[in-house]
């Protein structure tokens, strides 16, 4: 059977998948909005607990990684395979930095006894408890998406290396890039909602 190829169709599929991802997080943003309205003062207090510096650092890391993956597409189009590989590798490295920061951030909080179900948390105000519940759930789900994105971009890396992704056929790289921008975009909303509204 001949291989059916339709780049526009593949991109359309990716965009529809991105819609579903946005709605997945949309449910969480809805829960956030409702509890923020119900417990605005306590959300305010709890947000002080988060380290805005690490949050900002991770934002910069993701923005840079989004830029590098976009540049990788241009590099492939210009048939500069080596540059494309370097750019995808930088993206992956940035993703790893993000996760390392997240690890220390979560680790520090867990060390302080702030985690769902902890004794300390049950003694806090209800709104603060919900804030930390949302914090772990939202950043956890986002972190999971970072890992999925890294797997996807690793596949892309090896396909560029083998020449399967080239100037004539690079829709997989584009879709990987689209997914990565989505992960970035969701963080752009998580960062102010969780870290900056203090």
């Amino acid at each position: 059977m001949e291989e059916h190829r339709d780049d526009i169709g593949s991109r359309m599929g990716m965009w529809i998948f991105i819609f579903t991802e946005l709605l997945l997080f949309g449910g969480l943003f809805l829960v956030y909005a409702i509890y923020r309205a119900d417990y605005s003062a306590e959300f305010h207090t709890a947000a002080h607990e988060l380290n805005a510096f690490i949050g900002a650092l991770n934002t910069v890391i993701l923005l840079v990684s989004s830029a590098t993956v976009a540049m990788a597409i241009t590099a492939v189009q210009k048939e500069n395979k080596k540059l494309a590989l370097i750019l995808v590798a930088i993206t992956l490295l940035m993703a790893l930095f993000f996760l390392v920061n997240k690890y220390f951030e979560w680790g520090h909080k867990i060390h302080l006894g702030i985690y769902p179900g902890s004794e300390l948390l049950t003694k806090l105000e209800r709104g603060e408890l919900l804030f930390f519940g949302l914090y772990y759930f939202m950043t956890g789900l986002h972190g999971f998406h970072i890992v999925v994105g890294m797997i996807l971009l690793t596949v892309v890396f090896f396909k560029i290396k083998s020449g399967a992704i080239n100037a004539g056929s690079f829709v997989l790289l584009e879709n990987g890039g689209l997914y990565w921008h989505l992960v970035d975009l969701i963080w752009i909303f998580l960062f102010p909602l969780l870290y900056l509204l203090t």
């Binding site: 059916h4 169709g9 599929g13 529809i16 819609f19 997945l24 509890y35 769902p116 919900l130």
Partner: protein, 534 residues
């Protein structure tokens, strides 16, 4: 090899794979459709038997054959299997996979491997769902709606069941995504949007609901899991959470899910009626666009499940108003089907009988839906067996009978063999009678105050329950007769022919069973899909 493949039909063409692997690893949309057909039929029979057991328990007041906890487990498992494994994938996964590409003149769906992957995810979810019934601390007893806070506290196996529903949702999303891209990108040359048959139109509207609504229930079910495993507090009033919020999030998906079930059913009926009335469909554009309208408005009516849960008066009349609005496009379809039959030369063969039954049962279900959609009457019948009767008329009488109609309509095309039509008609009569004897009494005792989900009842409801249980066994025997009859079609020696009903859509222009690549040459479309005039 290429030409040789063209001559083989999809059943003969194993593409070099051995035995069962030729099916479970095939990316052919027709084989995947058959995989879904077998899995869905199996789960349907399993859950139907559970329904039979529940009816047997209700044959007399008091404990008859099971205790209350077993009954709670049974109605939950019956609901989970029927909703998530049978009705939601149902028509789209079986007949959508098999016929969508053929009806729009394509060789396959846009992403064949993703399509096979969807079936594997479906099976993973199904195994998890069945596992949740037998492993751990007993079957979940929350009802298929998993309402918090009970679902966060119940000692039964809720996490596995909830996670199964999440996995099944993922499969549903991927199928929807695949169909949207297929319809956008792979229609045959000349097939404009308004030259596309109406079953694909209904699948298109459905696919958007699958893609846009399912993620909400996905994240909500994940919150239930997090609630149980980590006490995250979102739905637990003791931790500041709000159980009503769960109900909102749940119905934001699960009401549109009703349209995932019924829209493809309407699409099937729209295919069958013109073929047997020998007449072009009446109001083609109205039917096509009403599918889209139902999908769009159906997104904003979820609150009508929650009139008695605690909502502001404004929210309640708003949801009630929209519920009435969504009845309009549904009624448009009914009028168009009737108008198509008007002055047609109706050939009342088996598929037509099922299709006509669909219209009848769907109307009873739809009109009783308006009783539930009105604020004042809903308070009276909320959570009674009236609701049970209403949604079984819609889901079983609607989607179920459309599924039976579809299987009788397309079976000769799928397998090249005709079933015994006389036996099929007898099975239809038994099923139709059994269905009404089973569910109609539930309307009556529901209005009199019989609550739903109770394993026991007051003596005054005995007559209604007894009639209903008798109906259940008439219905079950009809179902078995129907299935055995269809299965025995394979023994027929004479082939059914390429076009046994005189249909005009593209699937009737290819051989029965269709060859692997569907068409030797992709057709060019110049006419409307339902032009019977030569």
């Amino acid at each position: 090899m290429e030409t040789q493949n063209n001559q083989l039909n999809y059943i003969e063409d194993t593409q070099g794979r051995w035995g069962i692997f030729a099916w479970i690893f095939s990316t052919d949309h027709k084989r995947i459709g058959i995989l879904y057909l077998i899995s869905i039929t199996t789960f349907f029979l399993l859950a139907a038997l559970m329904g039979g057991l529940m009816r047997l328990e209700l044959i007399a007041p008091g404990e008859t054959i099971m205790d209350a906890q077993t009954y709670n487990g049974l109605f939950t498992v019956h609901g989970i299997i029927m909703i998530f494994l049978v009705v939601i994938p149902g028509l789209g996964a079986v007949f959508g996979n098999f016929f969508l590409p053929i009806m729009i003149g394509a060789r396959d769906v846009a992403f064949p491997r993703l399509n096979l992957f969807s079936w594997w995810i479906y099976m993973a979810g199904a195994i998890l769902a069945v596992y949740s019934q037998f492993a751990g601390d007993g079957p979940p007893d929350t009802g298929w709606t998993f309402y918090a806070p009970y679902s966060t506290e119940s000692g039964t196996n809720v996490v596995a069941a909830v996670f199964a529903a999440f996995v099944l949702g993922f499969s549903s999303i991927l199928t929807g995504l695949n169909f949207i891209v297929t319809i956008h990108r792979m229609r045959a040359p000349g097939m404009t949007w308004f030259k596309m048959p109406l079953f694909p139109w209904s699948l298109y509207a459905t696919a958007w609901i699958q893609v846009l609504a399912t993620p909400i229930v996905g994240i909500t079910l994940m919150m239930i899991v997090a609630e149980r495993l980590f006490q995250i507090g979102f739905f637990d009033p003791a931790l500041g959470g709000d159980p009503i919020l769960y109900q909102h999030l749940f119905w934001i998906y699960s009401h549109p899910a009703v349209y995932i079930m019924i829209l493809p059913a309407m699409g099937v009926i729209t295919e069958i009626i013109p073929t047997f009335a020998k007449k072009s469909i009446f109001g083609y554009k109205a039917i096509a666009l009403s599918s889209v309208a139902i999908a769009a408005v159906g997104y904003f009516v979820w609150g009508h499940h929650m009139y008695t849960s605690g909502m502001s008066g404004t929210a309640r009349w708003f949801f009630s108003f929209l519920t009435f609005i969504v009845a309009i496009p549904s009624a448009i379809k009914v009028f168009n089907w009737v108008a198509t039959m008007y002055k047609g030369s109706i050939d009342a063969r088996t598929p037509f009988l099922y299709a006509a039954t669909f219209i009848f049962l769907f109307m009873i279900g739809g009109l009783t839906g308006l009783v539930l959609g009105s604020l004042a009457t809903d308070v009276h019948v909320h959570d009674t067996s009236f609701v049970v009767a209403h949604f079984h008329y819609i889901i079983f009488g609607g989607m179920g009978f459309a599924f039976f109609a579809a299987i009788h309509y397309w079976w000769p095309k799928m397998f090249g063999k005709m079933y015994n039509e006389r036996v099929a008609n007898i099975a239809w009569l038994i099923t139709f009678v059994g269905f009404n004897v089973l569910y109609f009494p539930l309307f009556v005792i529901g209005i009199q105050g019989m609550p739903r989900r109770y394993f026991d009842y007051l003596p005054e409801f005995h007559a209604g329950h007894l009639i209903s249980t008798i109906g259940a066994f008439i219905l079950l025997s009809g179902l078995f007769l129907m299935i055995i009859n269809i299965y025995r079609a394979k023994k027929h020696v004479t082939p059914a022919g390429d076009n046994p009903w005189g249909g005009v859509t593209l699937e009737w222009q290819v051989p029965s069973p269709p060859p692997t690549l569907n068409f030797d040459e992709i057709p060019t479309i110049t006419k409307s899909p339902y032009s019977f005039e030569k």
